[in-house]
């Protein structure tokens, strides 16, 4: 319990740091580019949403820094991000809520699958040390992990979509179909998700394989594993319930640290596939100079990562009795 409270405290500090960075970035930039963009909306917006944008971007010169900092914090915590300038006059929150399910589905599922498959493959490779899996997997995934995510996406579009015509090139669903909750539409969505999910899976799985393999090599050499062998336990039982369980613990912490990298890659994958998720929206906001939307998205992605880290902490606490002991 104490472990989780400490981790929660740390994640709250991280969230505060992200909020503060977000607040100061536009203020530290020379020439305040946001001001020019906002000028055209003055008069078309109602005063309160204009004010919220001004506070978020640091344009309102009518109050001191500290006061606007606290107003910004209050606005952000109550979900008042103002109005999107590129989807004018739709509020930022509703623009984001349209994109969020797409990203949660695509990135969430492919990240979890990558973690599970990668961890299992890494454990097996280390278990059969020197076997063909152990000889083939590490070098090939060292190379694959050095590929840019978006380039793997381009390659798979060219190969599977343009050349072989197996999968659609772009988007989250067929544009001519109206989104309804039918099997046909769900199938269409899954059909469109195959290539982007494959891209994220292929480029992120290598990290899990390598770290799990390396943890496992250390754990397998431990005395209690030898003891389990000596007792004549079935190898499969030793692999998963004795060695694998303990080798997984550092990997769960690693999950927290690598998540940022996976999310970063996923942003570019969504961009390549025009996938209607949060990452694609972020880059659209950048090219449309929609600063309120951009900043809200950065915060949203940060919160998502922090929540995922907390979940992996909870899993660690459940699996590792040492974290539960009160010191």
């Amino acid at each position: 319990m104490r472990f989780l409270v400490r981790r929660l405290g740390f994640l709250l500090i991280a969230l505060w740091a992200a909020l503060t960075v977000n607040f100061f970035i536009p203020r530290l930039m020379p020439g305040n580019p946001a001001e020019a963009i906002l000028a055209q909306f003055r008069g078309r917006l109602n005063p309160s949403s204009l004010k919220a944008i001004e506070v978020a971007l640091g344009i309102g010169k009518h109050q001191n820094l500290l006061a606007s900092y606290f107003e910004y914090l209050r606005n952000t915590l109550t979900g008042n991000f103002g109005v999107s300038t590129s989807y004018f006059p739709v509020p930022v929150t509703s623009v984001i809520s349209r994109a969020l399910p797409w990203s949660l589905g695509l990135v969430g599922i492919s990240t979890v699958l990558g973690f599970l498959f990668g961890t299992a493959l890494g454990a097996i490779a280390a278990w059969r040390r020197g076997g063909w899996l152990d000889n083939v997997l590490p070098p090939s995934f060292i190379v694959v992990s050095a590929f840019p995510y978006f380039w793997v996406g381009l390659l798979s579009i060219w190969l599977f979509s343009l050349t072989l015509n197996w999968f659609p090139t772009l988007g989250g669903y067929t544009e001519t179909v109206t989104p309804t909750l039918t099997w046909g539409f769900v199938g269409d969505v899954l059909w469109h998700a195959v290539l982007p999910a494959f891209t994220i899976l292929l480029t992120s799985i290598g990290g899990w394989i390598l770290t799990m393999r390396n943890n496992m090599i250390t754990v397998v050499a431990e005395d209690y594993v030898k003891m389990a062998r000596a007792k004549g336990l079935r190898p499969r039982r030793i692999l998963w319930q004795y060695a694998g369980r303990n080798a997984l613990l550092p990997n769960l912490t690693g999950f927290a640290m690598s998540l940022g990298f996976v999310i970063s890659g996923a942003i570019l994958v969504e961009f390549v596939f025009n996938y209607p998720g949060v990452g694609f929206l972020l880059l659209q906001a950048v090219s449309a100079e929609d600063y309120p939307l951009m900043q809200a998205l950065f915060l949203l992605i940060t919160v998502a990562v922090l929540v995922a880290i907390f979940l992996s902490d909870v899993a660690t606490a459940l699996l590792d009795p040492r974290t539960r002991s009160t010191r």
Partner: protein
């Protein structure tokens, strides 16, 4: 350090390179790319920016990788773009590593409140997703220059190494030979510089390679989405122009795929070297020989 000692170190390094296939392949690739980036004109038969050729041409002897839809030679652009990626890798790798070493070792060596504060900062930067942050910063600066990209990549890229180095330094801190140096009354600078850092060399090198790899991939991603300076020569900006002109569906796949291959080649070289150095600092990871394998199977 005497000359003799330096020579011994160097020959040990040479032997390591020859013995470890991953390290050998990685360093050969890296060396070739460094030569290309130092003397790009030796490798570019055509002016990389000239838009004078048949646009959208396929493979030929004159244009081994075809031309772009602007009529530029793809191969020449690839060679000319090498410099920026290699430079970003080396510069960001170097500065981040220095920062990681300073923060990580200061935290471990000082302990107490200094350690708490530095570790907290390191961990916070580690968990905040950096790429969206880089995108936001680059969006405000508009077409980030080389040094802007270096700056944001260093700021976001040093924390992983600092954390690893701190853990390593902590485990060394109370070894007898360090206590002995302290008992002899050596200065902190001597202890850190001569006793603490040398045993950590392989980890520091591995961190340099990891930071360089991160820089190559992140910079390419930034330039690909158009947040770099799109008028410079680099693999990332080539990808940007290819994507903007729908090179894939226009039947010019090499224009879009070749720069990615180059990024992947540079990245793989760094990753292979990185892994080889990991095996140096953790002998358990080294490939097992046939004889050892039999022992393990037992």
């Amino acid at each position: 350090m005497s000359w003799d000692k330096i020579r011994r170190r160097l020959s040990a390094g040479g032997r390591f390179l020859l013995r470890d296939k991953k390290a050998l392949v990685g360093s050969i690739i890296l060396l070739v790319l460094i030569v290309i980036s130092a003397f790009p004109s030796w490798f570019t038969p055509d002016d990389p920016t000239a838009e004078i050729y048949n646009p959208g041409a396929g493979l030929s002897w004159a244009h081994p990788l075809g031309t772009t839809s602007f009529g530029q030679d793809v191969f020449s652009q690839l060679m000319a773009g090498t410099r920026q990626s290699v430079m970003i890798a080396l510069v960001v790798g170097l500065i981040s590593t220095v920062l990681s070493v300073v923060v990580g070792i200061t935290a471990a060596y000082s302990g107490g409140v200094v350690d708490d504060v530095l570790s907290l900062i390191t961990d916070v930067i580690l968990v905040i997703p950096t790429f969206p942050l880089i995108i936001v910063i680059a969006a405000y600066t508009k077409s980030a220059s080389f040094w802007t990209i270096v700056f944001v990549l260093v700021v976001t890229g040093w924390s992983y190494g600092a954390r690893q180095l701190r853990v390593q330094a902590l485990s060394l801190r109370n070894r007898d030979y360090l206590l002995a140096a302290r008992a002899r009354g050596e200065s902190s600078w001597y202890i850190i510089g001569v006793e603490l850092i040398p045993p950590m060399t392989s980890l520091i090198v591995a961190n340099f390679l990891g930071a360089a790899l991160y820089a190559v991939l992140a910079a390419a991603g930034l330039q690909f989405v158009g947040l770099g300076n799109v008028n410079t020569q680099s693999w990332g900006t080539m990808l940007y122009w290819a994507q903007n002109n729908e090179a894939l569906s226009a039947g010019l796949p090499l224009w879009a795929l070749a720069p990615g291959v180059m990024i992947a080649v540079l990245g793989s070289a760094l990753a292979l070297l990185n892994y080889a150095f990991d095996e140096v600092s953790n002998p358990a990871l080294r490939p097992v020989s046939k004889r050892q394998r039999r022992k393990v199977a037992l």
